[in-house]
């Protein structure tokens, strides 16, 4: 059977002032295949997707691409949709207070005599969900669904427009491992019904689990296209970064000092009275990296945010810091005491995206550059911020560049820089490498090791087991808000950690 090519890009070049985002990128997509695009942030993946989906309209780039052998000249997203190209972005675009069916048909509600035909809408939605084998009730409020199921609703919403090309941009960034599995299975299912899929992810495990072919982009160029079966992760990484990576997780043994933070039987409730953290105890020492693992919803972020004083109510247990009881009312108090946090969701909790890098760097530590009269010493501030920007190798023209325009990895470096400028004794890093590319990840790992060597106590929260195992001196796994297991370095293995994360829970599906 001849393979039919549904989308073919030829020599696409896209230039922004001063940067070539894409340079002669060519690739093709066949019917029914999953074709992954791999590359570091800034390699041009997003730009390519924006070109294919009509956000960069025809004429703003050079080269051409063809959908079903017809040259595509999209002047907007609507054209792309009409041609059958649907894009699912990392950020969900669902209205959480509407039902699944309402979301799926948002803007295309079936009507009868000018009124919405609710019966038909729900029947159609039911039929549509059934067609893709998805078990979601169309009358369920979207906000009640887990993130994984929301992602599926998003996909169904896109596919109802009779699309035959589906582009998934980092669809699993916010999903737990089990949710990821279900999503991948769904994508395979959808593709087996003839839909072609472009898949973008930083997680190579997923890429290899799902792809038929893999194209690597680097510095805006298409480097190589592999048959997924004929290559391996190392080869792909090598092509992504253009060099060998011997050891992705450089553990450095160090000298562990005295205890700085001691959490005992801590129980935390949120505003709605839900118990996120249940009688959790752990200690943290200087010069140590404590891994904090567990699936999404295990209470990791809630635990750290509560210790910081940012969220939740302590209903039991104690926290002591440097030997004294520690009950900060706000993060401001914690930061003054030398405890900072790099939160998981950098866009929501980490950055003011409209402002400059310098603004963001300074946010937690303005006091250190403020004169006694209350005026900020801007010379000193700029000097200090330029120094940290250089140290962290933030790729931006100057520190006055708007943070929102940077790539994910560089944004994360700004959040890290903001925390480092507080000169902390204890630093909580929650998912510090989420959604950033391999090169930036390595730099973050190096930084964490430097912190450790300087005697800072580090808590590394992560849902990636390999990352935890690669860096931590000790690992605590949370499951359903409880400690599922504590492991010394000698006892690390992916199986035992995973078992601790699942085992302690009564394991209701994260999809329910």
């Amino acid at each position: 059977m001849p393979v039919s090519v549904v989308l073919r890009a030829e020599n696409i070049t896209k230039t922004f002032p001063g940067v070539k985002a894409l340079e002669n990128v060519s690739f093709d997509l066949r019917q029914g295949e999953v074709h992954s695009l791999c590359g570091e942030n800034g390699a041009g993946k997003s730009t390519l997707i924006k070109t294919l989906s009509g956000i960069w309209r025809t004429g703003t780039y050079d080269g051409a691409f063809y959908v079903d052998d017809v040259e595509a000249k999209f002047t907007g997203i609507a054209d792309a949709e009409a041609a059958g190209v649907a894009v699912i972005y990392q950020e969900l675009a669902l209205v959480s207070d509407m039902t699944v069916a309402e979301n799926v048909y948002l803007g295309h509600e079936p009507t009868k005599f000018g009124c919405i035909d609710w019966d038909k809408m729900y029947a159609d939605a039911s039929e549509l969900l059934g067609r893709f084998g998805i078990d979601i009730d169309p009358v369920e409020r979207v906000g009640n669904l887990g993130v994984g199921k929301q992602q599926l609703v998003e996909i169904v919403k896109a596919l109802k427009k009779e699309s035959h090309i589906l582009i998934l941009d980092e669809p699993t960034a916010a999903l737990t491992e089990r949710e990821v599995e279900i999503l991948l299975e769904m994508v395979r299912e959808i593709c087996s019904r003839g839909i072609a899929c472009i898949y973008i992810s930083h997680k190579l495990d997923e890429v290899f689990a799902i792809s038929d072919r893999i194209t690597v982009l680097r510095d805006g160029k298409s480097i190589v296209t592999f048959d997924a079966k004929a290559t391996d992760q190392n080869e792909v990484i090598r092509n992504m970064v253009g060099r060998e990576i011997e050891d992705l997780f450089p553990f450095v043994p160090g000298e562990i000092g005295e205890e700085v933070l001691c959490v005992e039987n801590l129980t935390v409730k949120d505003e709605d009275g839900r118990e996120w953290v249940k009688s959790v105890s752990w200690q943290l020492r200087r010069g140590e990296i404590l891994g904090l693992g567990g699936f999404m919803g295990a209470g990791r972020a809630e635990l750290l945010m509560n210790v910081l004083g940012a969220d939740g109510t302590r209903t039991g247990g104690t926290v002591s810091y440097k030997g004294r009881p520690f009950t900060p009312g706000t993060p401001q108090e914690s930061i003054r005491a030398g405890l900072v946090m790099v939160p998981e969701d950098r866009k929501r909790y980490g950055l003011v995206l409209d402002q400059s890098n310098s603004f963001n760097f300074s946010l937690s530590s303005l006091g250190k550059v403020t004169r006694s009269c209350g005026m900020v010493d801007m010379n000193q501030e700029v000097r200090r911020n330029e120094e940290i920007s250089r140290q962290l190798r933030v790729k931006a023209p100057t520190i006055e560049t708007e943070t929102g325009t940077l790539s994910g990895g560089n944004q994360q470096k700004v959040v890290l820089g903001k925390a480092l400028l507080c000169k902390p004794d204890v630093i909580f890093l929650d998912e510090p490498t989420r959604g950033i590319d391999v090169g930036a990840k390595l730099e973050v790992y190096e930084l964490i090791n430097t912190l450790k060597a300087n005697g800072t106590a580090v808590v590394l929260g992560s849902s990636e087991m390999r990352e935890l195992m690669g860096l931590s001196d000790r690992i605590i796994i949370l499951a359903e808000g409880r400690v599922g297991g504590t492991f010394e370095r000698a006892d690390f293995s992916q199986e035992t950690l995973l078992a601790a994360a699942i085992g302690a829970s009564a394991s209701p599906s994260p999809f329910s």
Binding site: Y89, V340, G350, V352, L353, Q355, L363, T370, N379, S407
Partner: protein, 380 residues
């Protein structure tokens, strides 16, 4: 801070030229120094109120109680001096403190109970209006008795001597020159982009010439009015506060992303309450100026001023979502609103037309702003 002229600054300038041209054609006396002097006083009241609400809007809140506050605090000071014979400074002091306490109280209520500022200040609008009418006993309270002058009336009836005005302009120009040179040197040291020396000089000269034209025109009538000097002082103060203090940074951070600001250790509640307190002080000062300008306190003083102040901010490019806006923009916005009202009064436009014109200009200005500021979708 970087100060570059963007298209939108230019568009505000064009809007002012257009409005002035329009009114001059309809009524040539618009452009006479007598009217421009009056306009300068009118700008002062609008702009002081607008600078206050700027602080509140920057951190993502809103203040609808300005107009009632203007009436109340101006009226309170008038009642204390005229009816009770208090020294004027004491009357001002009491009003000012009352304003700061009431506004800080509203701010406290907003942040601690998490009620939208819209609702709290809407309540404030009604409550303070009621209190205002009680305070002045729904009567007319002159700021000074028949034909005399006092410190209160001088707020809008005192003019600097010709020489004083020029000295002021010289002083301001010299300060501006020093600040510009220092800023450039500092930016160069940090290898930041620096404007071409010629362009910078040209811009500097434009500002200085503008300043002197204002002084010359005002001197042609009676000199630089006291209220303009007060406005300049307050504008400079608010500029320093927003651009050079950590409090100012926190305002922008809270307006830009409150959650991130909180987790980063920004004292969110304290900052918002302080912003309201300062806004309250500026409302009181607007009240003194507005009441002095009217000559007496009546129930109509301050009416709808909150809308003029908010409109001035929005026209000047302040984002109602918070996190974006400058003192310079607010000054231009205030000038536009004040010019409009002044011109319409001058050509004795029907009050109905006045409302329609103000609303139309506001809508057009915001529409233009949105058009000019259309951002590209960010690279993810």
């Amino acid at each position: 801070m970087i100060k570059t002229l963007s298209l939108r600054d230019f568009s505000l300038f064009l809007a002012i030229v257009g409005i002035w041209g329009f009114f001059t054609v309809l009524s040539p006396s618009f452009i006479e120094s007598r009217n421009l002097s009056l306009l300068a006083i009118e700008v002062s009241t609008t702009a002081v109120a607008a600078l206050g609400v700027l602080l509140v809007i920057l951190c993502g809140h809103i203040d609808l109680a300005i107009g009632s506050g203007v009436g109340l605090f101006g009226g309170l000071a008038a009642v204390l001096t005229t009816w009770f014979g208090w020294p004027i400074l004491a009357a001002f002091g009491v009003s000012l403190v009352a304003a700061i306490l009431l506004w800080a109280g509203m701010g406290k209520f907003i942040v601690s109970q998490k009620i939208p500022a819209f609702i709290i200040t809407l309540g404030g609008l009604l409550i303070f209006k009621g209190i205002f009418w009680l305070v002045i006993d729904v009567s007319t309270v002159p700021v000074v008795l028949g034909g005399e002058t006092n410190l209160y009336s001088l707020l809008t009836d005192f003019y600097l001597s010709e020489l004083g005005g020029y000295l002021l302009a010289f002083g301001a120009s010299a300060a501006l020159a020093v600040a510009t040179l220092k800023g450039r040197a500092s930016r160069k040291r940090h290898n930041f982009e620096v404007e071409d020396a010629g362009v910078a000089f040209y811009k500097f000269m434009m500002k200085v010439i503008g300043l002197f034209i204002v002084v010359v025109v005002l001197n042609m009538f009676r000199g630089v009015p006291m209220s303009v000097i007060i406005l300049c002082g307050i504008a400079f103060g608010v500029y320093v506060l927003t651009q050079h203090t950590s409090f100012g940074r926190y305002l922008y951070a809270i307006g830009g992303n409150e959650e991130a600001a909180f987790v980063s250790g920004v004292p969110v509640n304290r900052t918002v309450i302080t912003a309201f307190a300062i806004a309250g002080a500026l409302v009181a000062i607007t009240g003194f100026l507005q009441t002095a300008k009217t000559g007496y306190s009546t129930t109509a003083v301050g009416q709808l001023m909150e809308l003029d102040a908010i409109a001035a901010c929005v026209i000047g490019g302040v984002s109602l979502k918070g996190g974006r806006g400058t003192v310079m923009g607010v000054m231009f916005g205030s000038l536009i609103m004040a010019s409009l009202i002044n011109g319409l009064t001058l050509i004795s436009a029907d009050p109905a037309i006045k409302f329609i014109a103000r609303g139309t200009v506001l809508v057009i200005a915001v529409w233009m702003d949105v058009r000019l500021n259309k951002k590209y979708t960010r690279a993810g």
